[in-house]
Subunit: 406 residues, 4 copies
């Protein structure tokens, strides 16, 4: 699939982008049974069919209902069932029990998607000549929103499968059969000297961006160095073999408590092979852990401890953004934990209305990740993109790149 | 369906009984989607497909593997996945997360059932002339076991549906479409005088019984009276309207804490209709609460408080068993909570081996229920039958019959 | 201290009994610092000064305020602070946080006790000639109530000290310095044959008894045998060495879960001595575990598992009461767990008013213990006495005596 | 008490500083009973006597044992009991149950303090002419450490007293009898324009500072404005009356969940007076809430929501530090929440050894507070001082100053 241009103003192009993204969601659930799609394996995750329905609800709620006077809600109950977290839109079904709602089932969600898709396409076409700004902007936002859920659908489903004992013996439980991690750079790790000084940070304008990437502003960098490669599984194994998970001096206090409470001794989804080696449950199923791949499914706590063990530190989000164009493996392997807390940029203003809840209300207790992962859909990420999770989360494809003061 | 005779020794009759019970399980899940069957709505409940697989595993584990030398396990992993609580049989998948195992799915479970059914029928037929005792006894035990799970499948699924907001508006979420509660006795409630003295309690022999019904033994009854009818919804409503759920003096201390912690103010599965009345989610779907039906889905705590409010008490299990033949509505409406703790009968001995875990290890912290419910499969219950649950459980079809000292 | 007669009707004798019991409470806290008295080491326990104040509040609440028109509450707040569980008396301070109330302190509680003591003695003396029945009955109840709290004060404080690392090295943390367990019977354990048939159970009348001992009624005993001795520490050690804590087949299901969750591998308050042997924290401080002493501080789950391991069972409360006069070591060593659930006797009626909450509302989820322990104050227990705790509790001086069917 | 100079190199001056700080700790517990000092009212808090002992242990552990060859540990067990969180120093008693250790009691802790005080003074005097650098530095660190615990002792004890129902009726439960909040600035709130550009941030050198204030480094400020006053109780009341605690749009998502879960509807330690007004439990006891005082005992979540309600934002820590010299009410009223996450400064290096655990391992999930409070001991705070707590904590004297973009 080629890069999708979200700047499209031509109705046909927008409709094409819409169809491409919507189809990609369905392709991600093509190998899933109805039972697979119904399951929620932890409160952080959501069922696959919930993702499919919620992304549809988003178009219905924010585009069709306000901007298509002839549109009637597909099912009144869906507004309650598929609202994720928008307080301004009234009561909603509790997140932690999404896995209890067996109906509407996978097929009923498909029908809901088809209904909304048709209405959106009609709305796009109905606009004269050049698509009206609002419709274009809301469709574009809806597609980026859906792409975020595509990544979550993949990692949530991977988590669910990884709980199934059948997955540990290689029974072919694959979210995306045939999926393999992209091959990274060969050669040794080197640290690239980066200049200090004032840089421009944030979305440069001229295309889509989430509100948390704005406004563009100046930031001051200290002199520093950045690794040309992501940390590899082989290096992580060395950390493990050196007792990294048991050396308190390497860890944040909260993180060390967490490793013991949760019994962490390897990245998430690694499984001992019974002969001293390791297997890994991935979207493609069970395979032998590949030492050359960038390590993934680690928490910020683990990334931070590893960096300390390696005599390095995590980069800041500004350091990564400033060098994004020059850094190998910045995109499409693993999200890279930074040592930047997820906070508003200077001058940040959320957009008015319910959509203003999209990002702003999560700006506490989370750390920023930069780049993008092998699970990120094509055309979704940008150099200015700010992903964010709590420091103990590890079910995303999160890894790290080392930095050093210079 | 007629009463099944479990005393059958003729292979054809046993095979017929086997088919009847096995088919009944499948009929109970006929209206369920694959998603419905995958869900576990609370730790006490299990997914419908788990019940279908576990009852099959029971035949495989206790009948086929020990007694059919040519039988090979259908899938090695199933012994781990579908063992419920038999410690003697090794490690097992944790109960609380049965709802996370999406595969094997509903269709794969059907295949497993068919495979085991064929093997069991072959084993029955292979026995010469009169079926061998052991095979007959194990088939019989397995069928009674399966009937217990038929009742759980129904109440577990009802609980799951009742969590779905769609059920509250009557969207046709019915475990058994068309299901209605059986009609009870008309006329006023009267208290029947019962004699005191020594009675024989426990299974009289001559047919199937669970180990907890043995040995038959003498018990001493005090003079008492028993209501000729079960407590009705209308009476329960009077208790509610009198503030029964808020009067501490009516309740056991633990029970009063529970009502407040859980927000109990009506039986489980009742829903306010928004106009001061009540609806009820039942196996047939949403309906108006019928004041003439025996109240069901109440905990022991609620039954005990109601009895105190009514100037009565709960009967003992011996009182009920001694009068079972004379009591209207003893069977097929609701299980009747007693004031008897679930303890071993004098001289109780569990059978040797893993099957000895069937009942004995649960003889603490539970109260006995007697009779049977509208969800109990035909031919399953007996006057000596001892059902048991913790006093806070209310997802079964449990109700009460009043007693008084005389 | 001699046996106190609670049947006293002579004012001087009643006043003397009152003083004796009240003084005994103070003697139990004589070795405790103010800090010791303020602590609550778990939700089941209460601070020593709370016991001292609550028993005083009991006289104020149930005797002085209703029956002495000139009496004014010592401090209005104490009615809130020192009500234990009487719903009929209004709001009360939450039990689980009693350890947060540093004031009134130990000295202020002493002043409260002195004030109430003087008022009670005046009330006793003010009654003409023979003390009025109500005053006598309430004083008597209050003294038995206080004796129950004396035992709790001792076991609660023992639990608190046992949490202090200093106690594990023998720093002289003794609730009652010099305390030693009474010496039991020598000689081997024998099983005494007991007859079956109908016996009279319950308080025979003619002296004080708690409401749960009434009414006296007939019960039917099965033929059985009872051990002439309590189970000893040496026998418990054999159970431990045989892997008793890790054999699922010996345990109730809930109990086996509990042993693993709580890490039980020995009786409460045992500590490894570092050389393969055991120490025991007792009211007298740290000492070497004595193999000849009756085992104490075990839960019902442990007692039940031990009995199964020993090829025996726990006795019923009726069996013990019927033989109480003939059984060595029935009183003053350890409370003996029975296999009887704590339920109302046939015909039981709680007394009207708040005092009716004393026992009746706890008749669920508890098991009966019979006899009395080395911590039971002199003159408190009776053969018909029914003690009760949840099956997982082990901070009382609870042990066991074996029984067998015959 | 005058400002203490920690730069002292003259032994007499250092000894004098030592005595002054140590005496201040004892003055803070002068009004506390032994019971008061023993209590831990929540896991975040510690008993007063623990603070008194732990600060003493700090001198013993880091100064006396390494640098006085003749010193012997006062009690081997104290190293286990009074280690707070230093992993490098071995096992330690669990924080959450510090309130269970009744012995050593308050008096025994006094003896421990006297013993260590004498040893420290001997060590100071024993150094020739000018005190050796290491001893001076460790004494100085120990004194700043003790001052931090002085503030905690006050706020921890305030929290404990505030749980006691007697405090709510004004029974004279005062941590520091006679304590009153310092009077703030009169006049209206104005916003002062602050320049943008590069500033120097961090400790300038030349006196004591904690490691987290180093290294001094350049930071870039955006144009902004800062309020000349702290937010007052009257303004907070307006926020409350406007439904501030119930408007989701004002809150971070986690914070809104917290307000509902914890039932927050006013600052901590406020109590309704029963007539529509408010009382406040303060270190001086119960008093009428004063609308002119800076609001205190609020969480970051509340401060952030208030700022949003006021059309403003929280300042960054760099903004506050850059203007600290010009800002009224910067010190000695309330700590001021910032919108800066507590992270390492560029180039931060913890000191080697166990003392390196002092600050660095807490640099996650916490927000920075700047300034100082009425509970901060004289001479403790600096303009570069970085205090930090999790965003839900509110038992410290934390308040806020508003900022705006300009």
């Amino acid at each position: 699939m080629d890069q999708i241009s979200f700047g499209a103003v031509d109705p046909a192009a927008l409709r094409q982008a819409f169809r491409t993204v919507r189809d990609h969601t369905e392709s991600l659930s093509a190998a899933l049974t109805p039972e697979d799609q119904a399951i929620q394996s932890m409160p952080d995750a959501s069922p696959a069919k919930w993702h499919r329905a919620h992304t549809t609800w988003f178009f219905e709620q924010f585009l069709l209902l306000p901007h298509d006077r002839s549109y009637r809600p597909y099912d009144e109950a869906f507004g309650f069932l598929f609202n994720s977290y928008y307080e301004a839109l009234g009561a909603r079904y509790p997140r932690a029990t999404r896995g209890l709602v067996t109906r509407p089932g996978a097929a009923a969600v498909s029908a809901y998607r088809a209904h909304v898709d048709a209405a959106v396409c009609r709305l796009i076409d109905a606009a004269p000549g050049t698509v009206r700004d609002t419709v274009r902007d809301l469709v574009t936002l809806g597609l980026h929103h859906e792409q975020q859920h595509q990544e979550l659908l993949l990692t949530d489903m991977l988590h669910a499968f990884a709980q199934n004992p059948l997955a540990w013996r290689g029974d072919g439980l694959a979210v995306v059969p045939g999926w393999t991690a992209p091959r990274g750079e060969d050669g040794p790790t080197r640290f690239l000297d980066r200049p200090d000084g004032i840089v421009e940070i944030g979305h440069p304008g001229g295309g889509f961006g989430f509100d948390n990437e704005f406004p563009r502003h100046r930031a001051l960098l200290q002199p520093h160095r950045l690794a040309n490669r992501l940390v590899r599984n082989a290096e992580w194994l060395a950390f493990m073999q050196d007792g990294g998970y048991r050396q308190a001096a390497l860890w944040m206090s909260d993180g060390f408590v967490m490793t013991k409470a949760e019994g962490w001794d390897a990245p998430m989804h690694w499984r001992p092979d019974g002969e001293g080696g390791w297997l890994q449950v991935s979207p493609g199923g069970l395979s032998v852990m590949d030492p050359d791949q960038p390590v993934r499914h680690i928490s910020w706590y683990e990334a931070d401890a590893f960096a300390r063990w390696a005599g390095a530190r995590l980069p800041t989000e500004q350091e990564l953004e400033a060098s994004a164009q020059d850094l190998p493996e910045f995109h499409s392997h693993v999200w890279q934990w930074t040592n930047s807390a997820y906070l508003a940029y200077p001058g940040f203003r959320p957009v008015p209305g319910a959509i203003g809840e999209y990002n702003g209300k999560f700006m506490i207790n989370q750390m920023v990740l930069r780049g993008s992962s092998a699970a990120t859909p094509p055309g979704h990420a940008r150099d200015s993109y700010r992903n964010f999770f709590q420091p103990e989360k590890r079910w995303q494809m999160s890894g790290l790149r080392l930095a050093r003061d210079s």
